[in-house]
């Protein structure tokens, strides 16, 4: 059974239809990359999965549990939404670290507030995770004292603290200077090697090709093409994907 199953997700903002029926599924331990030109609805899709937006229709099922069913047509309670969100983690394009807290506190804040254990356990876990992203010497730094690449690694560590079943990335390297993307991609690569289930929206085509089990190409709110990376990148079927890949080569 798939870990995540998304069926017929639609989302409009006013009259603009942004998602027009998205279907896909991922297995545990898989990495799914989503590519597509800007405005195609990639961010909106991640936001729907993380319940920052409510889909207009469709279903979202994780581990067999239906988190959202548009057909029921009821407004989810705040509590239910908060529970649903914990299935997912989201790493933002511009990090969104909490500026007033140290790196360590950024990691421990949510687990502490959600009472995920006593403070010693939470802190030990934070130190272990911060080591994994290679920033154990920065635990007492404030976000403004870190480079963009370091901030994004902290953001990844913060998301990992709650052990989400599916970790989502929204263009995690787009806000970074080119020389800083490597350190972030390396961390994501390592997560893949540990079989973390991930959805990665990215413009890094080489990375997507190397790290993913499956790739989705989105255009105008639909999945234009979906398949293993070899097919998507080396043998694209649709004209739009061919054009997209061609134009991204020349960037």
């Amino acid at each position: 059974m798939a870990l995540l199953e998304v069926k017929n997700i639609c989302k409009s903002f006013g009259k603009t239809e942004v998602l027009k029926g998205i279907d896909f599924s991922i297995e545990k331990g898989e990495a799914l990359s989503i590519i597509g030109s800007s405005g195609s609805g990639k961010t909106t899709l991640l936001r729907c999965l993380n319940f920052l937006e409510t889909s207009d229709s469709g279903t979202i099922t994780v581990d067999g549990e239906i988190l959202f069913d548009g057909a029921e047509n009821i407004k989810l309670s705040d509590d239910k939404i908060r529970k649903n969100r914990l299935n997912f983690g989201l790493v933002f394009q511009n990090f969104n670290l909490f500026p007033q807290y140290t790196v360590l506190k950024n990691l421990t804040l949510a687990p502490t507030l959600l009472k995920k254990g006593d403070s010693a356990t939470i802190e030990a876990k934070a130190k272990e995770i911060i080591k994994k992203v290679g920033l154990e010497d920065k635990v007492d730094f404030y976000p403004c004292q870190l480079s963009g690449g370091q901030q994004q690694r902290v953001a990844i560590a913060r998301a990992l603290m709650l052990s989400p079943k599916i970790l989502c990335f929204d263009e995690p390297t787009s806000a970074l200077d080119p020389e800083l993307t490597g350190e972030v991609l390396r961390v994501i690569r390592e997560l893949k090697d540990e079989n973390t289930t991930m959805i990665i929206v990215t413009h890094e085509m080489n990375f997507a090709k190397n790290v993913s089990d499956k790739v989705i190409f989105m255009a105008d709110g639909v999945i234009e093409e979906m398949g293993p990376p070899e097919q998507i990148f080396d043998n694209p079927q649709s004209k739009r994907l061919q054009e997209f890949l061609y134009s991204s080569l020349n960037k």
């Binding site: 993380n50 319940f51 920052l52 705040d78 908060r82 529970k83 969100r85 914990l86 997912f88 983690g89 989201l90 933002f92 511009n94 969104n96 670290l97 909490f98 500026p99 007033q100 804040l109 949510a110 507030l113 959600l114 404030y142 976000p143 403004c144 913060r158 998301a159 709650l162």
Partner: protein
């Protein structure tokens, strides 16, 4: 006629008493308007139209008219128009009326500062809290609040220093604050008359007091300097 050295203790005693009243009005106004301003700012950001319309109108009226008129209205309206003089004619009645007018006036100014502070915190901060499963209350108190405070400290300190000087407006309803005390020696009081220097000297009290506040606010700003938003 008293000699200058004989005048000194009398004058300072009077000015001190007046300043105490000034200080009292200042503190009571802050204590009332800081929380009331928060309520009004939530009101004007409310998605419930009647509440936001009411709050915005209130802010518009209060910020669009002189505080001096507001003082006169609050003090005289109940007695002269409603024939129900709720304030009483003594000093404590005048203080109460002045406090009500000042609290309302400053709450409206503060509410706009709060609104700017709240809306100035990037939406991404709230969303980062949401995807970590935090509740709205947790997000407000643990994430947004301090960033908001950092943003509002500079405009709030300006406004609070203005309040120090604005307290003198309460003289219009004969509240016996420091300017009132200084002025009394022109007309004649406690055997001193025709003296204008006590009135001029009240400026020193304001200067020292706002100086202390400036130092204090600078300290707070420095304290919040450790992070950048």
């Amino acid at each position: 006629m008293l000699s200058f050295s004989e005048q000194l203790p009398i004058v300072f005693n009077s000015l001190n008493v007046g300043f105490l009243q000034t200080l009292k009005l200042f503190l009571v106004t802050l204590a009332g308007s800081i929380p009331l301003g928060l309520i009004i700012s939530f009101g004007s950001m409310s998605r419930f139209k009647p509440i936001s319309a009411f709050s915005k109108t209130l802010v518009w009226v209060v910020r669009g008219t002189p505080l001096m008129i507001q003082l006169l209205i609050v003090y005289y309206f109940p007695g002269l128009v409603l024939h129900n003089p709720i304030w009483g004619g003594d000093e404590s009645g005048r203080f109460f009326a002045a406090a009500v007018a000042f609290i309302l006036n400053y709450a409206c100014y503060f509410s706009e500062i709060y609104r700017g502070g709240i809306q100035g915190v990037p939406l991404g901060q709230q969303e980062a809290g949401q995807v970590l499963g935090l509740s709205k209350t947790q997000i407000f108190f643990k994430i947004t609040l301090l960033q908001m405070i950092k943003r509002i400290v500079p405009p709030m300190s300006n406004e609070i220093i203005t309040l120090v000087k604005d307290t003198s407006l309460a003289r219009i309803i004969a509240l016996q604050e420091i300017i009132w005390a200084g002025q009394s020696f022109m007309k004649g009081s406690q055997g001193i008359s025709g003296q204008i220097w006590p009135l001029f000297f009240t400026g020193v009290y304001y200067l020292v007091f706002s100086g202390i506040l400036t130092v204090l606010f600078n300290k707070v700003e420095k304290k919040l300097d450790y992070f950048k938003t």
